[in-house]
Symmetry: C2
Subunit: 358 residues, 2 copies
């Protein structure tokens, strides 16, 4: 059943990209030079620059996922344009997180160009820009959804997901700061339960749960049991996505992914290191402790050699297949047998994820 | 009329401090170790530390002002405890701004102790803590006000004021970054209109307007014309307060204020420099351009000498008196002749401000 659905949606998804982009310039204007605060000196123009630099310059997957989900839930509905606008709200949320994250991580580049805070000597004042980006999404919501019966639900979802994401970021930061009694990086903190918590909180909620739940709110689908199960599936997909991302960081082809992985050097709590630590013998564990997170080529090579000795690529392939099947099963078990919520909403996402190489 | 009112309120205000503090520990618990996210590792305890360090450690003027305003609007009401809780939401908002501001300004101390981001090597991760502090206030609102008819109004006020404050912060940062063609600090950007915008956006909305408007929402006072005029008065009071603050930074007695001013060295857009630039002759203007924002004692002394030559203390005293009278007049002109909204709400504030030395 999935393949027929998917062929049709590929078209839908491509079709969405152009009208999605088309609503953006008006949003920028209403937030800046034509907004309620347009007469404040300097700020509207600065904010416009910041928005143009940080919001529309990514892959826009989350905003498009929302628009496509709504298209599936309510085909050719008069509010499809509102779904594009709501999609941009998700993109503003992401820009808020990423501008802040890049400062906290000291990152030089993002999406192939200089990070915002390194750009034009904005410096730490970029923190305030990230706060402004957050406020923008609520201004857009107010301007376009205030009279909708589901307006407060949208605000509530953004609030909750923002809190989860900030908590996930905090958990990630605190985990990477954990030290052994000797003051060295503590790999013992990297277990599968910690990994799953970080991924769920920091990534899955805003990247997978949020776009779909917002489309469901717009479409007035609010059966609580259905929503609960949809959430479970979307968080599972987020986990699936992040494991892939971690795998590709080390085993992906840089010619295909377009980037050279840095998770080993950065000492990230990645799926690979967590599985490796589960399976390592005492000597391998010791070697991982000595080499993981160390910025020299021979340390990185030692870690990779242990990953290969432990057959992580094979373990990954098995995980990918069984996880894909589990998610498919959960989609098929949704209440209403596909009548209350078309499975295509999830399958579009899943199709994009399964066996991806980028 | 004012003096009789004020004597009674001094008692009220003191009485509020203890029950206001009393609700705080339960709020901390519901946000952390007993909150919905209590099972996430590390984060609840970290957040608890952050809250304890940053939220209840100031003067709590804004939270108390809200509680006192509500006490005046609805004396001995069953919801007075809710007013304390809402007061803490304003204090969380302030903590969110201050933690971020200290990072952006590179400040070492705040309220007589090390700033949060310098504390325990939290570093730039403190920016995420400031985001968490912001989310806390909405969690408190949801936990305690969700079923109130005015719940969405409260959320809306916090969001609007957050946007204004971030814009004020941005305007302040952008103003201080303005450079002359030679790349020097540009004092020409410091005019009275710019000064007023910064103060209104960055300080008055969240410090003066927000506490009173929230108390009014709780008391179900929502005549639009009354609200509009109340807002005007509160923003006037914020301006009055900031001018005082700027005056005391240079001319206050450090033994009374407890701090040595740094506005001249920091090159701040202060009321004093704006008035000085308005009144300076060409030679004085040139000297100000050379000495303002320069970190050495003789430059600071030269600026102070010019301030004295231009009789700024006398100009300030005149401003203080006429501004106080204007505000009094506006209070007396509120619609309803004090029946719709007791003037005491404003007079309590004003009394605290007038002829203060700290
Ligand atoms: Mg990063
Ligand atoms: Mg990061
Ligand atoms: Mg990655
Ligand atoms: Mg500061
Ligand atoms: Mg500052
Ligand atoms: Mg000051």
């Amino acid at each position: 059943a999935m393949s027929t659905y998917v062929e049709s949606i590929k078209v839908t998804s491509k079709d969405d990209s152009r009208p999605f982009m088309a609503v953006f310039p008006d949003l920028v204007r209403e937030l800046t030079v034509e907004g309620a605060e347009k007469d404040i000196p300097l700020v509207p123009k600065h904010l416009m620059k910041c928005i143009q630099y940080t919001v529309p310059t990514g892959k826009r997957n989350r905003g498009l996922a929302l628009a496509t989900s709504y298209q599936i839930l309510k085909p050719n509905d008069k509010d499809q344009e509102l779904a594009y606008i709501l999609g941009w709200c998700v993109e503003f949320l992401q820009a808020f997180f990423l501008v802040a994250d890049d400062i906290m991580d000291g990152s030089e580049t993002r999406r192939g160009k200089t990070t915002w805070y390194k750009h034009e000597n904005v410096g730490l004042a970029a923190f305030n820009d990230s706060i402004l980006l957050e406020t923008c999404l609520y201004t857009i919501l107010e301007n376009h959804f205030k009279d909708k019966p589901y307006y407060h639900d949208l605000v509530q979802e953004f609030r909750t997901v923002t809190r989860y994401t900030a908590m996930g970021q905090s958990l990630d930061l605190l985990t990477s700061l954990e030290k052994t009694p000797e003051g060295k990086k503590n790999l013992d903190a990297f277990d599968m339960s910690r990994y799953s918590s970080i991924v769920r909180m920091k990534t899955s909620y805003y990247s997978f749960y949020l776009p779909v739940v917002l489309a469901m709110k717009m479409a007035r689908i609010d059966n609580p049991e259905l929503c609960r199960q949809a959430k479970t599936i979307l968080l599972e997909m987020g986990h699936f996505f992040q494991v892939q991302d971690d795998y590709l960081d080390v085993f992906g082809d840089p010619k295909v992914t377009g980037k050279v992985g840095t998770d080993i050097v950065d000492g990230k709590c990645s799926w690979l290191i967590v599985v490796a630590l589960q399976r390592a013998n005492p000597a391998q564990r010791q070697a991982l402790k000595e080499c993981y997170g160390v910025d020299d080529d021979s340390s990185v090579e030692k870690v990779k050699a242990i990953y290969n000795d432990l057959k992580l690529p094979k373990i990954y392939k098995t995980f990918e297949e069984s996880s894909f099947e589990d998610i498919q099963t959960h989609i098929n078990q949704l209440p209403g047998g596909g009548q209350m919520l078309p499975p295509l909403v999830f399958e579009v996402f899943l199709k994009k994820l399964y066996k991806r190489h980028v």
